[in-house]
């Protein structure tokens, strides 16, 4: 049935029934805040009931703690050089050894946690913000704005992800903001596509029709009715994209176009050890292990989230496309 056309009586009453029934948006039905808290807690418990997900959550928690408390819990100053302690292997004094300048690698990994978390979360936020806005508008308004926006996204997709990020980094010059923008922009089209598809699916659902029938404005329709219902795939995609963001940001810094040394960026640290493999394998090895632990934990949580929220499509696209 068309959006503007006249409707038969039976259709109208059907819409009214749907609009008033609690089957539409059960979460909106008035309930105590306490009930909601209990519900949320039950969902969290259900989510972490899986032992692998629990361990992954623990790893993320430890990383966040390291990011927040890094400077206070690190055994050494991550920037302090010590010529006498150059290239020492892992020992009681230096758990993960020291680099060529005698800096403690464990302390540097701890301080790099903050950088990694900041950059990757920043990049994902940028991609979500821009990509989802584009996708919502394109999928809801359709017509020529859809065509123009999605062609723009296609152009970004025409560059292999890492190449686009490298070009952006070349344009902006090395630095933290550069990495956030470069990684964020290269993820934007994927979010736009997934959001657009989900918006188009949601736009023809009965609850949207009902909301329209009771006279909702377009903006309200989009923000209050469609957006909450397409969050599932976006959240899953964002989690999986976080893993990609960490890897790409580290790759940029490894290649020397991202965050520059002496900042304790994990990718840059791996690069510093590249020429020292014969004399100090630990210099490259351990920062890489930190990356793997973080990315693996995020990937596990992303997979679990996808299973729990039951969003099959969309997220697959990233799983294959960008990794």
């Amino acid at each position: 049935m068309s959006a503007s056309g006249e409707r038969t009586l039976s259709e109208k009453s059907e819409i009214a029934a749907v609009a008033s029934g609690d089957a539409v948006e059960p979460a909106v039905v008035a309930r105590g805040a306490r009930d909601r808290c209990r519900d949320a807690w039950r969902q969290v418990k259900h989510f972490f009931a899986d032992p692998v997900a629990f361990i992954a959550g623990l790893v993320i928690l430890l990383l966040v703690i390291a990011a927040v408390l890094g400077p206070w819990i690190a055994p050494y100053d991550p920037a302090a050089t010590d010529a006498a302690a150059s290239l020492q292997g892992p020992s009681g004094a230096h758990w993960l050894g020291t680099d060529q300048l005698g800096r403690d690698i464990f302390s540097r990994i701890l301080s790099g946690a903050r950088l990694t978390l900041f950059v990757s979360v920043g990049a994902v936020s940028l991609a979500v913000l821009v990509g989802c806005t584009v996708g919502l508008v394109a999928g809801f308004v359709r017509g020529w704005s859809d065509a123009v926006l999605m062609r723009l996204m296609d152009i970004l997709l025409a560059f292999p992800g890492l190449i686009l990020a490298i070009v952006m980094a070349a344009l902006l010059g090395p630095g933290i903001a550069t990495v956030i923008i470069a990684v964020g922009v290269s993820g934007t089209p994927t979010f736009a596509r997934v959001t657009r598809a989900a918006t188009m699916r949601a736009a023809v659902e009965e609850y949207v029709l009902a909301a329209r029938a009771v006279g909702c404005s377009r903006a309200r329709l989009l923000l209050r009715h469609i957006t909450p219902n397409i969050l599932g795939p976006v959240v899953v995609l964002a989690t999986l994209y976080l893993a990609y963001a960490v890897l790409t940001a580290a790759a940029l810094s490894f290649l020397g176009v991202g965050v520059k040394p002496p900042a304790a960026e994990w990718g840059a640290m791996v690069n510093e050890g590249r020429d020292l493999l014969a004399v100090g394998w630990w210099v490259s090895l351990f920062p890489g292990v930190a990356i793997v632990l973080f990315v693996l934990a995020v990937n596990i949580l992303g997979d679990r989230l996808r299973d729990v929220l039951d969003v099959a499509s969309g997220a697959d696209e990233v799983q294959g496309a960008e990794k």
């Binding site: 062609r151 992800g161 990937n299 496309a321």
Partner: protein, 312 residues
């Protein structure tokens, strides 16, 4: 005829993308920080005498209106002229063609490894659904996807080249130089392909035509390879195409770590040197290849599945 129409429509849809890609790479010259004249010639401030600057502006047509400059850029690119590097004035096209065989060899080998290992692992995992081969391969592939390839390359060099001495460490040449980098690159894609193959196979094996085939008494191997895999393969082909984009991008990292001369290491050296003509040339080249590959992939699954042709 529908097939030709389908292919024609795909071809047309590529045009705006190609236009956008060429505009972006053309614009790089003006988006890069610094004077375009210096970027085209040396990249170093004060390297060019002021009287020469006007001469260079004229030589490169920098005084022309931007649309005209864009047209001549595209025109030159179409005839294979991508300008000259700021170092010794090497032709960019020549540099790319020189590096290309190494990159093609690497991505080709990696894609082969990815397809063989990925699809067979995925099929095995789906056959043992829920049992340990399934769990091991799925966790293994997730772990593999979580490792940065530059780090894997370094660890591989450490173990297989430095300690065990099985392979030469750096450079390009015979097959012995290819095995390590291609495996690093390929196995990562294989992990993604294995996961998709598994889920695609699991979906297919519950389909009614599989039951029908069983009921007709067709042997299990034939059901697996002909009835199931043929139907499960379409998303896998799509992913293979996307993986090629990933592989093209990641050759940068792998070529850098293994010191292989290739298009990727050409690009990164140019970025570090601010060699704009080479950056423009390699980026344009890689993007065009990627777009064409995706076009071919689209065409392939139009061939594999008539339903897609109808829908498009």
């Amino acid at each position: 005829m529908p097939l030709m129409r389908f292919l024609g429509a795909r071809l047309v849809s590529v045009i705006p993308v190609m236009l956008g890609v060429s505009m972006l790479t053309f614009g790089l010259l003006y988006l890069m920080p610094g004077d375009p004249v210096l970027l085209l010639v040396s990249g170093v401030e004060g390297d060019v005498a002021s009287e020469q600057i006007q001469q260079i502006r004229e030589e490169f047509g920098l005084d022309d209106p931007l649309p005209m400059q864009y047209v001549s850029f595209v025109g030159a690119a179409l005839t294979g002229d991508l300008g000259r590097s700021i170092h010794q004035g090497h032709e960019v096209t020549g540099l790319i063609l020189e590096a290309l065989p190494n990159t093609l060899e690497l991505t080709g080998m990696a894609l082969l490894i990815a397809a063989l290992v990925g699809i067979s692992t995925g099929v095995i995992a789906s056959l043992f659904h829920g049992r340990w081969p399934d769990r091991v391969s799925m966790f293994g592939s997730l772990l593999w996807l979580s490792m940065p390839e530059f780090w894997m390359a370094i660890v591989a060099i450490m173990v297989f080249a430095s300690w065990l001495g099985w392979f030469p460490v750096f450079g390009a040449g015979g097959i012995e130089f290819l095995i390590l980098p291609a495996t690093i690159l390929g196995l990562r894609s294989a992990a993604a392909i294995a996961r998709l193959t598994r889920s695609s196979m699991l979906e297919v094996t519950h389909a009614q035509y599989i039951m029908t085939a069983r009921a007709r008494g067709i042997g299990e191997p034939k059901i697996l390879w002909v009835h199931a895999l043929r139907n499960a393969i379409i998303p896998i082909v799509t992913l293979l195409g996307l993986q090629l984009g990933y592989l093209l991008g990641s050759t940068v990292v792998v070529e850098v770590v293994f010191s292989r001369p290739g298009v990727g290491s050409l690009l990164i050296d140019a970025v570090l040197d601010k060699d704009v003509p080479v950056i423009r040339g390699t980026v344009l080249f890689l993007a065009v290849i990627y777009v064409l590959v995706n076009l071919i992939v689209d065409a392939t699954y139009g061939l594999l599945d008539p339903r897609i042709r109808e829908a498009a």
